[in-house]
Symmetry: C2
Subunit: 215 residues, 2 copies
């Protein structure tokens, strides 16, 4: 299944990096931890890091019901969401050809504020298990008061684009032929550290497997 091209979700620059499979979109969204949500406030763009989670072709976002960006994002106005993973720095022979290896997804649409309690709770489950897989079942569920304090938004993944860059630098042939400078890729890795137990825990605690075995 391919991504539906619209003028603004069709990659105009760097077409060779555009990827049009829906599976690639899912992969990028599922690999990220935080998205950048952009809205227009008083005619100016505002972009903020925001938690998210994906279920099928729905992206869930959440935030405080008091947050201005959440109010704007749920007002029926267009939003844009970007998820980016940097996989390495591309050292080229020329300054101009320096680049990054990355995976990037951009979604355009109108977000819907979810008011139905069951749907909102489902969205929070998706969000929680994206941030911390296994945590929804392990942790205390939200109270009605907590649910009321949380704005859950749903954004359809219909209008989206994906760009991926991998591999070595794309230097000019003359720079390659000269062979006078090193070029290559410095990979960037992301890894989980050792879990740090909350100091307010009482007694001996074994860290649960959904935390220790997180991949």
């Amino acid at each position: 299944m391919t991504l539906s091209p619209t003028p603004r979700s069709t990659v105009a620059r760097g077409k060779k990096r555009a990827v049009t499979s829906r599976a690639a979109l899912y992969d990028v969204l599922d690999a990220g931890l935080v998205c950048h949500l952009a809205v227009v406030v008083d005619g100016a763009p505002v972009v903020l890091p925001t938690g998210y989670g994906r279920d099928g072709d729905t992206l869930y976002l959440h935030g405080s019901t008091g947050a201005r960006t959440m109010r704007e994002a749920s007002s029926g106005m267009p939003v844009c969401v970007s998820v980016t993973l940097v996989d390495g720095v591309v050292y080229a022979r020329s300054a101009f050809s320096h680049s990054m290896n990355y995976r990037s997804a951009v979604v355009h649409g109108v977000a819907e504020r979810i008011t139905d309690p069951a749907r909102a709770e489902h969205g929070l489950r998706v969000l929680t298990d994206h941030l911390a897989p296994g945590s929804w079942d392990y942790s205390r569920r939200p109270t009605p008061k907590e649910l009321a304090a949380t704005a859950v938004l749903a954004l359809d993944l219909t209008e989206a684009s994906v760009k991926i860059r991998t591999g070595p630098p794309g230097d000019e042939p003359a720079d390659v032929a000269e062979n006078s400078r090193w070029a290559g890729v410095l990979p960037l890795h992301r890894s989980w550290g050792t879990p740090e137990s909350d100091p307010t825990l009482v007694g001996p605690w074994e860290i649960p497997p959904h935390v220790t075995h997180r991949t």
Copy 2:
């Protein structure tokens, strides 16, 4: 020196995470690799990952002169830039108190397209050395044609905000007292892998120190 508060650069939600020192802003911007640049195109927000670099109180951004977002960002219209570093996942006793440890900077302003060649080249030096420290001196400098193909923008850091979350979960006292679930932080680390030399290099090559010793 503190950050200058304006209504939109004053943190409204999660005030306890707001940091108002300019040094903290510099730290976050200098630690990031990619920013998210938001502009308004045809009334809708567009946010894209973009390279950047900082020199004093100027943030440099660059992109293809043909890119729509670059044209919009350099048209005298407001832009917003966000740099986010995720430092860990906060596993709380309640789903509601789950969070991330992060450092976030958001800058509002009007970007200036730099047309003076010397200033543009300085901006590219800053951008290159942010992405790949040491690369500007090591690599081939841009040709006039390459310079002409690159839009360099400058954004003043006057109107900016910083939010930082560190430390253990902030669970409700009743959940802490119950002591029936583990809680803590799973740190997220970023590290450089082993440099991968470009397969088109000819002959034995020692990888230069600015790559091998990158911190």
